[in-house]
Amino acid sequence: MAYDKFNVLTSTVVPLPTENVDTDQIIPARFLKATEREGFGDNLFRDWRYDVEGNPKKDFVLNDPTYSGKILIAGRNFGSGSSREHAVWAIYDYGFRCVVSSFFADIFKNNCLNIGVLPVTVTPEFAEVIFSAVEADPSAEVEVDIDKQTITLLSTGQSESFDINAYKKENMKNGFDDIDYLLNLKEEIVAFEKERR
């Protein structure tokens, strides 16, 4: 479904330097039982965020009031494993609009782009720059400009460009989704299907 347009996002950053964060950590399978898309943010990183009694674990970053923001930066190979889009719903629902990592799992990245969370792939060096800056000063802000395809650490001006294909970029900027596009091709698809029978 349509989502908020994404243009320039300026925000503080929540750091999660762990590598290989799989979608079972982002949202465990037992929280996938809904038939509607709501309330997933409450269970984002559930088992890292809460103990078995449901009390917040103090050492987990989402429970640390020092850090907040609309940008999540994570270690490499973020979002591996299951194709569950619920993982991105949880990230979006919690309030993040952009996830930064030096490496994303494939399906997760696609799912992000399909619901309006911008996945920004940076070099490992630039990820380290952001991690260090945020550690030194949690109020450090990062600017993500989709049109220019740049990510900038505002305190120092250090910047890097990122990739996104032109089609997805237009979608993100306008809040369009793929179905809007595909429905316009209905006749071509019907003809194609006939050929394949």
Binding site: M1, P17, T18, E19, N20, D22, D24, Q25, P28, A29, R30, L32, K33, A34, T35, E36, R37, D47, V52, G75, R76, N77, S80, G81, S82, S83, R84, E85, H86, V88, F103, F104, A105, D106, I107, N110, N111, N114, I115, N165, A166, Y167, K168, D177, D178, I179, Y181, L182, L183, L185, K186, E188, I189, V190, F192, E193, R196
Partner: protein, 466 residues
């Protein structure tokens, strides 16, 4: 003429249109759905006021959160029940074939698709489940998608998809005794890492792969996603055709002959190039087991857990966090570690051949006292065969508990959970933290190794246990 890979041939035949500087409009032949990733897609479809375009191209079954006991009764868990009921309601409303709980072909979606002959060479197949890669064993392009894409397939039978890069993994030689296709794939992932094939579609080739049965090939393709690949595929051959012949949805008569002639073209042209190639020797592969919290963290059952030498920064931190979760120390041997549960099942190893392997191994033996042993067939058909072949009797005499078909303890959405802190050796596909229940410690292995562990009660080498 342009040299094409198998992947190119199947991909190119399904492109409706290429978007400039963007993805392809990619046509999907078969769409599998289950209760967990489809309800929101149906809901959004209704919000838009549109119908399923080609309902006959979608097949449904509830598998992820169904109980594995008392399947003839109402599902006790309210949320699970609602999801299964929603699936029934949606299938009825949109005219979609449903293999419901209790029906003759109910089962894990990636087990019933091939079993019914729905999965065929040259097809494009998607499902809101990353293990859709299983179907690649037939020379199909099959991969997992998110719920937004499930909705796209309902609405237009297409998704917007950029063509992946191409990788070939060749395994030549003869497998040693006690070494299975599960060991091949765990070995490959341990070599190239859990992210080593991200961005690629993998073709598996070589004499060791060609020698495998369809079931064994499915195990390999199933776990392609565990090294980050979108999917994996194997060129169809006589083994494939023999498996499919006579299956319910396979072509019949003249149509069969024509299909086989077409399918025989589905192979990589000599001289076609890949973006990346790996070569492995089957003789180097031994029974494998994972010791950490991603499937790339695998070693020989007779090996030692890697030390932290050469690791630094977040890499070392992540590694130690993983070992801490598992209760293991760097450098120690894995053999001899006590185990609490064994689980045989899942879309990776829940097929009849897997049950046969376990039953063949435990025949006349008893499970160790410290072990709880669950065996969950991948489908009703597998369950039926296991009964007919006398395997259930053997397994029950050995102390295994046979449950009804479903995804079960592979992802523990239902009640089949491994308790916190306990060790499970499992034939499934993921050893992520909490995957088999909060705090559960999972070690992945082949059905043979799992059978040997069930008998000895600890991590052991199946080649040493008779």
């Amino acid at each position: 003429m342009e040299k094409k890979t198998l992947f190119d041939k199947v991909w190119d035949a399904h492109v409706v249109k290429s978007v400039q500087d963007g993805p392809d409009v990619f046509f999907i032949d078969k769409h599998f759905i289950h209760e967990v990733t489809s309800p929101v897609a149906f809901l959004n479809l209704e919000k838009r006021g549109i119908d399923v375009m080609f309902p006959e191209r979608t097949v449904a079954t509830p598998d992820h959160n169904v109980p594995t006991i008392d399947q003839d009764k109402t599902i006790k868990d309210k949320l699970s029940r609602m999801q299964v009921e929603k699936l029934r309601e949606n299938c009825k409303k949109h005219g979609i074939d449903l293999h419901d709980l209790g029906s003759a072909h109910h089962g894990i979606v990636h087990v019933i698709g091939p079993e019914l002959g729905i999965t065929q060479p040259g097809m494009t197949i998607v499902c809101g489940d990353s293990h859709t890669s299983t179907h690649g064993a037939f020379g199909a392009i099959a991969f997992g998608i998110g719920t937004s894409e499930v909705e796209m397939v309902f609405a237009t039978q297409c998704i917007m998809q950029s063509k992946a890069k191409k990788m070939r993994i060749t395994v030549d030689g003869t497998l040693g005794k006690g070494v299975t296709s599960k060991d091949i794939i765990l070995y490959i992932i341990s070599k190239i890492s859990a992210a080593g094939a991200t961005g690629y579609f993998v073709e598996y080739a070589g004499s060791a792969i060609q020698s495998l049965s369809m079931e064994a090939r499915m195990t390999i393709c199933n776990m392609s996603i565990e090294m980050g690949a979108r999917g994996g595929l194997i060129a169809p051959d006589e083994t494939t055709f023999n498996y499919l012949k006579g299956k319910q949805y396979a072509p019949k008569g003249e149509a069969w002959d024509k299909a086989v002639a077409d399918w025989k073209q589905l192979k990589t042209d000599e001289g076609a190039t890949f973006d990346k190639e790996y070569n492995f020797d089957a003789e180097d592969i031994e029974p494998m087991i994972t010791y950490g919290t991603n499937p790339g963290m695998g070693i020989k059952v007779i090996g030692n857990i890697p030390s932290t030498e050469g690791m630094e920064g977040s890499n070392k931190k992540t590694y130690l966090k993983s070992l801490d979760y598992m209760g293991f120390a760097p450098g120690e041997a894995i053999k001899g570690k006590k185990v609490d549960f064994v689980f045989v099942g899942s879309c990776t190893n829940g097929r009849i051949e897997d049950i046969r392997a376990v039953a063949g191994f435990v025949k006349g033996k008893k499970k160790a006292d410290n072990i709880t042993a669950w065996i969950v067939p991948g489908s009703r058909e597998v369950e039926k065969l296991a009964h007919e072949e006398g395997l259930v009797k053997i397994l029950e005499e050995a102390g295994f508990e046979l449950r009804q078909p479903g995804c079960s303890a592979c992802l523990a959405m239902n009640d089949d959970k491994i308790p916190a802190g306990k060790y499970a050796v499992s034939t499934s596909n993921r050893n992520f933290e909490g995957r088999q229940g909060p705090g559960a410690r999972t070690m992945l292995a082949s059905p043979l190794t799992v059978a040997a562990v069930a008998v000895t009660g600890e991590i052991c080498d199946p080649r040493e246990v008779f």
